[in-house]
Subunit: 335 residues, 2 copies
Amino acid sequence: MALESIERSGVTHFPAHYSGPTLGEVGEHRAIEEIVTVAPSTRNGDDAAVLSHASPNSRAVATTDMLIEGRHFRVDWSTPEEIGQKAIVQNFADVEAMGARPIAALLAVSAPPHTPLSFIRGIAAGIAQRVGEYSAELVGGDLTSGDDLVLSVTAIGSLGGSRPALTLDRARPGQQVVAHGRLGWSAAGLALLTRFGRDGVPEDLSALVDAHCAPHLNPGRGVIARATGATSMTDNSDGLIADVGTIARLSGVGVDLDAAALAPDELLVRAGRLLDADPWEWVLAGGEDHALLCTTAGAPPSGFRPLGRVVRGGRDHDVTVDGAAPAYGHGWVSF
Amino acid sequence: MALESIERSGVTHFPAHYSGPTLGEVGEHRAIEEIVTVAPSTRNGDDAAVLSHASPNSRAVATTDMLIEGRHFRVDWSTPEEIGQKAIVQNFADVEAMGARPIAALLAVSAPPHTPLSFIRGIAAGIAQRVGEYSAELVGGDLTSGDDLVLSVTAIGSLGGSRPALTLDRARPGQQVVAHGRLGWSAAGLALLTRFGRDGVPEDLSALVDAHCAPHLNPGRGVIARATGATSMTDNSDGLIADVGTIARLSGVGVDLDAAALAPDELLVRAGRLLDADPWEWVLAGGEDHALLCTTAGAPPSGFRPLGRVVRGGRDHDVTVDGAAPAYGHGWVSF
């Protein structure tokens, strides 16, 4: 989310079509009942959730991300289902980026009393859908009253077997850089939303908006990559150049990306023309696609495509495109 | 936190003595550096944290709780160190209440740009202190900009061996109800803060304020209780009657508590006299002490004291005191 950042602040105004009772009217217990009905788990409902016995030799993996209304999503742009989906995918992508399998999620929500119960139900439904795709479960959470609408999701994964996790520091010169998932679509979707609002985006570009509001990955690609010789992995959170740059910096190497492999697709080009924007900026600096970015000594793992190669470090730029400094790539920074 | 609830809303005003640069001035990366310097872990710094190989036959346990400034704590009442300590203890108490050992914590923080970096450092120091007492680590997190100061902590624990976890539904008539930790001190501390502010509380009652701002438990009591025949356990989050009532309801039993075992101690009596309040309300309905409340078929586990006994259910009140309905006990409810 490097380019256009959401910056609305103040009271959350829920669109009028979320009718029915509010959290303030029904109370915490009723709202929690609603969440666990929509996203059920037998592990939920005690002081803490007890996960299954891990497979022999496996390790647990954990990560957390916070999403704030007006900053990471807007209730007038995203449906609650999309917000729930996004919260899961951005956390599960971090689990996958270790080469691990997501098995559980926890959800803490702060919401103002005027939040419609139906909105909370929608978030739970979006979460249930995405965790279901991974055969994972929402195993616990917390719901409290606050001025802001804030979601905090923790994802827990299982890293089986004895191969090392796919950390950021094992890229080596000569390896390929490969990716699973689209690049630049989320940033393009955000730019369209910023200009036109949800209802004003041309129909033929709605896939870009969907990619921003509810990013999607094919589950299991991280496990596959780790099983087939990947060396380092991360996901495209802050922007391609920034995230590949993190692998380069921590591995002490450089990366040269192929411009031809990154060239904006037809949809990005059309959106760029409409907005008078350069779609390369979305691809190189966009972030929030949560595409998996990976280095590998062998052939690209199934579902991954080549993006470039790992080279020796020590040059002016850790990451180049066709040997030159990238045109964009400052990435996303909070505050 | 049933009795006096914190209800301040609006912009967070940090006391003037937190000087130095703000998050808006130094940025996200510098602030994260500060946190991981103060609360270090070799598992931190990648997309997700990889925990150690679990012991054979063990299971992971996970729980999450959110703390919001102006609702769960106030920056003019609590030091950042105390806020960090409280965030860990209330989550680790939930892990202990399963009979598990806390091994890791994750911290997601939303903070306004005017938050002093020194305040964030203080939160990290409080977290580091408490996780250190449990030989656990802060293994990951997220830091983002938002209007409210919000902490969301996830605790992960390890449940070893083949005994069942200490769930809420296994209390049986004839068993004892026992507790580890103080009851009512947190609520009394909150009442004192509400009346006098932090600086105005009489010196001889400051232990009550400390109990509210930075509750403390002796680590490991949950594991000990599970190893020595405890049947059900929870912690005193919402109030003694409410939390014991949850065990009673889910176990299909009643609980009769001994008034003599609950009698307010000298400090609570003094605070009650000063505030013209009934200290029994703090004991029975106070919550947030995070004392461990447990049922057991045998003698009280080491560190636990008797509070009463499990009886047959089906009466008007799930929980009685000396056979009668308790004078207080509605507990804490959000919204």
